[in-house]
């Protein structure tokens, strides 16, 4: 199931108009996440690193978290999905295969974060900026997605998030999203 979706918004009413905006929408890992307080069993909670994590084997599937998510980025396992050979090769061995009846969402590639942290720890150093790259940032050909440590004022992601074009989607709802989007500057408005 796709944890990221590309939303299309047209500038004009006429959909043939090529003035289209894209918003990649994925879990915003809100600092004040609406999904967290409503889960009756703490299957989704805030970890000390600021990630909004989902504990699959604790989830009973009330789906309240998705109802309360203002970005609607959570996905539910409606069936037991089968991966007959050779489709099983597309499953990432580092990621849990979810069973039916549990909620899932973008994890910010937590397995890559853990791997990067462990390697840095083994080498006795801090994680370098740009060392951990989630799958979406890795595959984006135009490098539109940047990942890093927001607490590090020197990091690329900190610099970009302080840009005057930066905004948080629906941040007026006080969700404090972790993702900063940079507004497109239109050529006729420059």
């Amino acid at each position: 199931m796709s944890w990221i979706r590309i939303e299309r918004y047209f500038e004009e009413e006429n959909q043939n108009d090529s003035n289209m905006r894209f918003i990649p929408m994925l879990c915003q890992h809100c600092d004040n996440a609406p999904c967290e307080p409503v889960c009756p069993v703490y299957a989704t909670y805030h970890n000390p690193e600021g990630l909004n994590v989902m504990v699959y084997n604790r989830c009973v599937g009330t789906r309240y978290c998705s109802n309360n998510c203002v970005y609607k980025v959570r996905r539910f396992n409606w069936f037991t999905y089968r991966w007959p050979v050779p489709l099983n090769w597309q499953l990432n061995p580092d990621v849990t295969v979810r069973s039916k009846g549990v909620m899932e969402k973008c994890t910010f590639c937590v397995q890559r974060i853990r791997f990067g942290e462990d390697r840095a720890k083994d080498e006795g150093r801090d994680v370098r900026d740009g060392e951990i790259i989630p799958a979406c940032a890795q595959t984006c050909p135009t490098k539109a997605i940047v990942f890093g440590d927001l607490k590090d004022p020197e990091s690329e992601v900190s610099r970009l998030s302080k840009d005057e074009r930066g905004y948080g989607v629906l941040s007026d709802l006080n969700t404090h999203p972790s993702i900063t989007y940079l507004k497109k500057v239109k050529w006729d408005k420059v």
Binding site: E7, R63, N67
Partner: protein
């Protein structure tokens, strides 16, 4: 006695009723079931069996067999949950609150409505389980010490629901049972066959009807009524917070608690009428359940219907006044979107149809009342459907709007839930006193010599 004449004038109970006749009429209802009852019961079990099959199929296949589509993750099951919890409310209203207010029109219908309460909570309690993705793990919602060191999240309104509904089930069933003890004793004294005699003897807890017992009993009943009263208001408020505590436009409203409580009583009263009319006809209880009983309920329906209509007016006003585009978008979507027919069914059934009850001719006409009560039941079901499904399908993110369509599995389970409710009700009618013998006697004149001669 002056007091007695006033009661007589309102004809809560027809004057032809005497002490012995009450016992006979009520216990007569427990006679051997007729073919009609049996065929109805078998049909009911067949529907229930289909509902159980649907649930089994859903558990085996996963929740994908329902009509849920992103982003509508709650739909008919939660609608049914709120509907049945709502139905449960008027039972306690009639039995507890009207008891404390000494409203005499409750006398002959309160046992039916109390039974309805208990069975409706039993039905409502199924749906939070049915709608779970992994229903076999439902006990994780209950706080209990466990080896895994896990605990529940007390901030979640769903946990409040667990407590609210289980408390309500406990209190309403105790209240239901305690109210029946003297009547069960009366049945015990009447029946002769061995298995029934033993069961009623155990259930009557050795009730002898001494004045010492009565003085304790009436006090206990009074305190139980006082204890149950706040629950009428609290349980549905808690259920409404499932929605009001969330941030969804159309849910996040402070009016929800009083709105839901009024709606619950509104729909519950309608279902009491729906149930009481056929029972009155089939068991020839016209002398006991009189037009005055129905008129009292109809007046309460007018009151609660007005509160619900007020909420229907305030909601769009606040969403417009807030100046919030998602809120106002939700309001317009309800009235004009693809779900608009359901919205207008709701307005028609809950706000327009009850206007008829303002006319005394209509609210004292049993047939008209029965039809109006059916409309209100339908309208209130759609009210919950509208709140849940329409709000979820049109939220903040235009990129994530979606339409939900019901599936046959959900309809099957819904039908099965109705069958589950009516199964209990059919059994109740044949095994327990459906009218309160003891309370009806309270307002009858004391038997005198003439009555004996007759």
């Amino acid at each position: 006695m002056d007091h007695e004449t006033t009661i007589r004038e309102t004809t809560i109970i027809e004057p032809t009723v005497t002490y012995s006749k009450v016992n006979e009429s009520v216990i007569r209802m427990l006679d051997k079931p007729t073919i009609k009852w049996l065929s109805l019961f078998v049909f009911d079990l067949a529907v229930l069996a289909f509902g159980i099959f649907c649930w089994m199929y859903q558990i085996y296949m996963g929740l994908g067999v329902t009509g849920y589509r992103h982003p509508v993750f709650w739909a008919v099951y939660i609608t049914n949950f709120v509907f049945w919890v709502g139905i449960a409310h008027s039972g306690t209203l009639i039995s507890a609150i009207l008891f404390l207010f000494r409203a005499r029109f409750r006398m002959s219908i309160y046992r039916i409505s109390e039974a309805m309460t208990v069975f409706a909570v039993l039905t409502a309690g199924l749906f939070p389980l049915i709608h779970l993705g992994r229903p076999w793990n439902f006990y994780w919602l209950i706080p209990y010490p466990n080896q895994r060191g896990l605990w529940i999240n007390f901030r979640s309104p769903l946990i409040w629901d667990v407590f609210a509904v289980s408390t309500y089930l406990t209190v309403s069933s105790i209240f239901f049972y305690v109210g029946m003890i003297p009547d069960i004793a009366a049945i015990r004294d009447r029946v002769k066959e061995v298995p029934r005699k033993i069961i009623y003897t155990i259930l009557s807890l050795g009730w002898k009807g001494s004045s010492w017992e009565w003085s304790h009993y009436t006090r206990a009943y009074f305190y139980l009524a006082a204890f149950a009263t706040p629950l009428v208001l609290s349980v549905h408020s808690v259920v409404s917070w499932d929605f009001a505590m969330a941030d969804v436009p159309g849910w996040h409203t402070t009016i929800f608690a009083p709105y839901f409580v009024a709606g619950a009583i509104f729909s519950g009263l309608a279902l009491v009428i729906t149930l009481a009319v056929p029972i009155r006809k089939i068991f020839h209880l016209e002398e006991y359940i009189t037009v005055a009983n129905f008129e009292g309920m109809a007046k309460l329906i007018i009151l609660t219907g007005l509160i619900v209509t007020y909420a229907y007016i305030v909601e769009p006003f606040i969403s417009w006044y807030s100046g919030s585009p998602p809120e106002w978008g939700q309001t317009v979507f309800r009235a004009k979107g693809p779900y608009a027919p359901f919205f207008w069914i709701m307005v028609f059934c809950n706000s327009v149809i009850p206007i008829l009850l303002w006319f005394k001719k209509i609210r004292t006409n049993i047939k008209a009342l029965f039809i109006i009560s059916l409309f209100i039941n339908i309208g209130m079901w759609f009210e919950r459907f509208n709140i849940i499904v329409i709000s979820l399908s049109h939220e903040f993110e235009p990129g994530a709007w979606g339409i939900y369509r019901v599936s046959w599995v959900e309809l099957g389970i819904t039908a099965g839930a109705f069958a589950w409710f009516f199964m209990f009700f059919l059994l109740f009618i044949k095994t327990l006193p459906a009218l309160s013998i003891a309370e009806i006697k309270e307002i009858l004149p004391a038997p005198n010599k003439e009555a004996k001669v007759r």
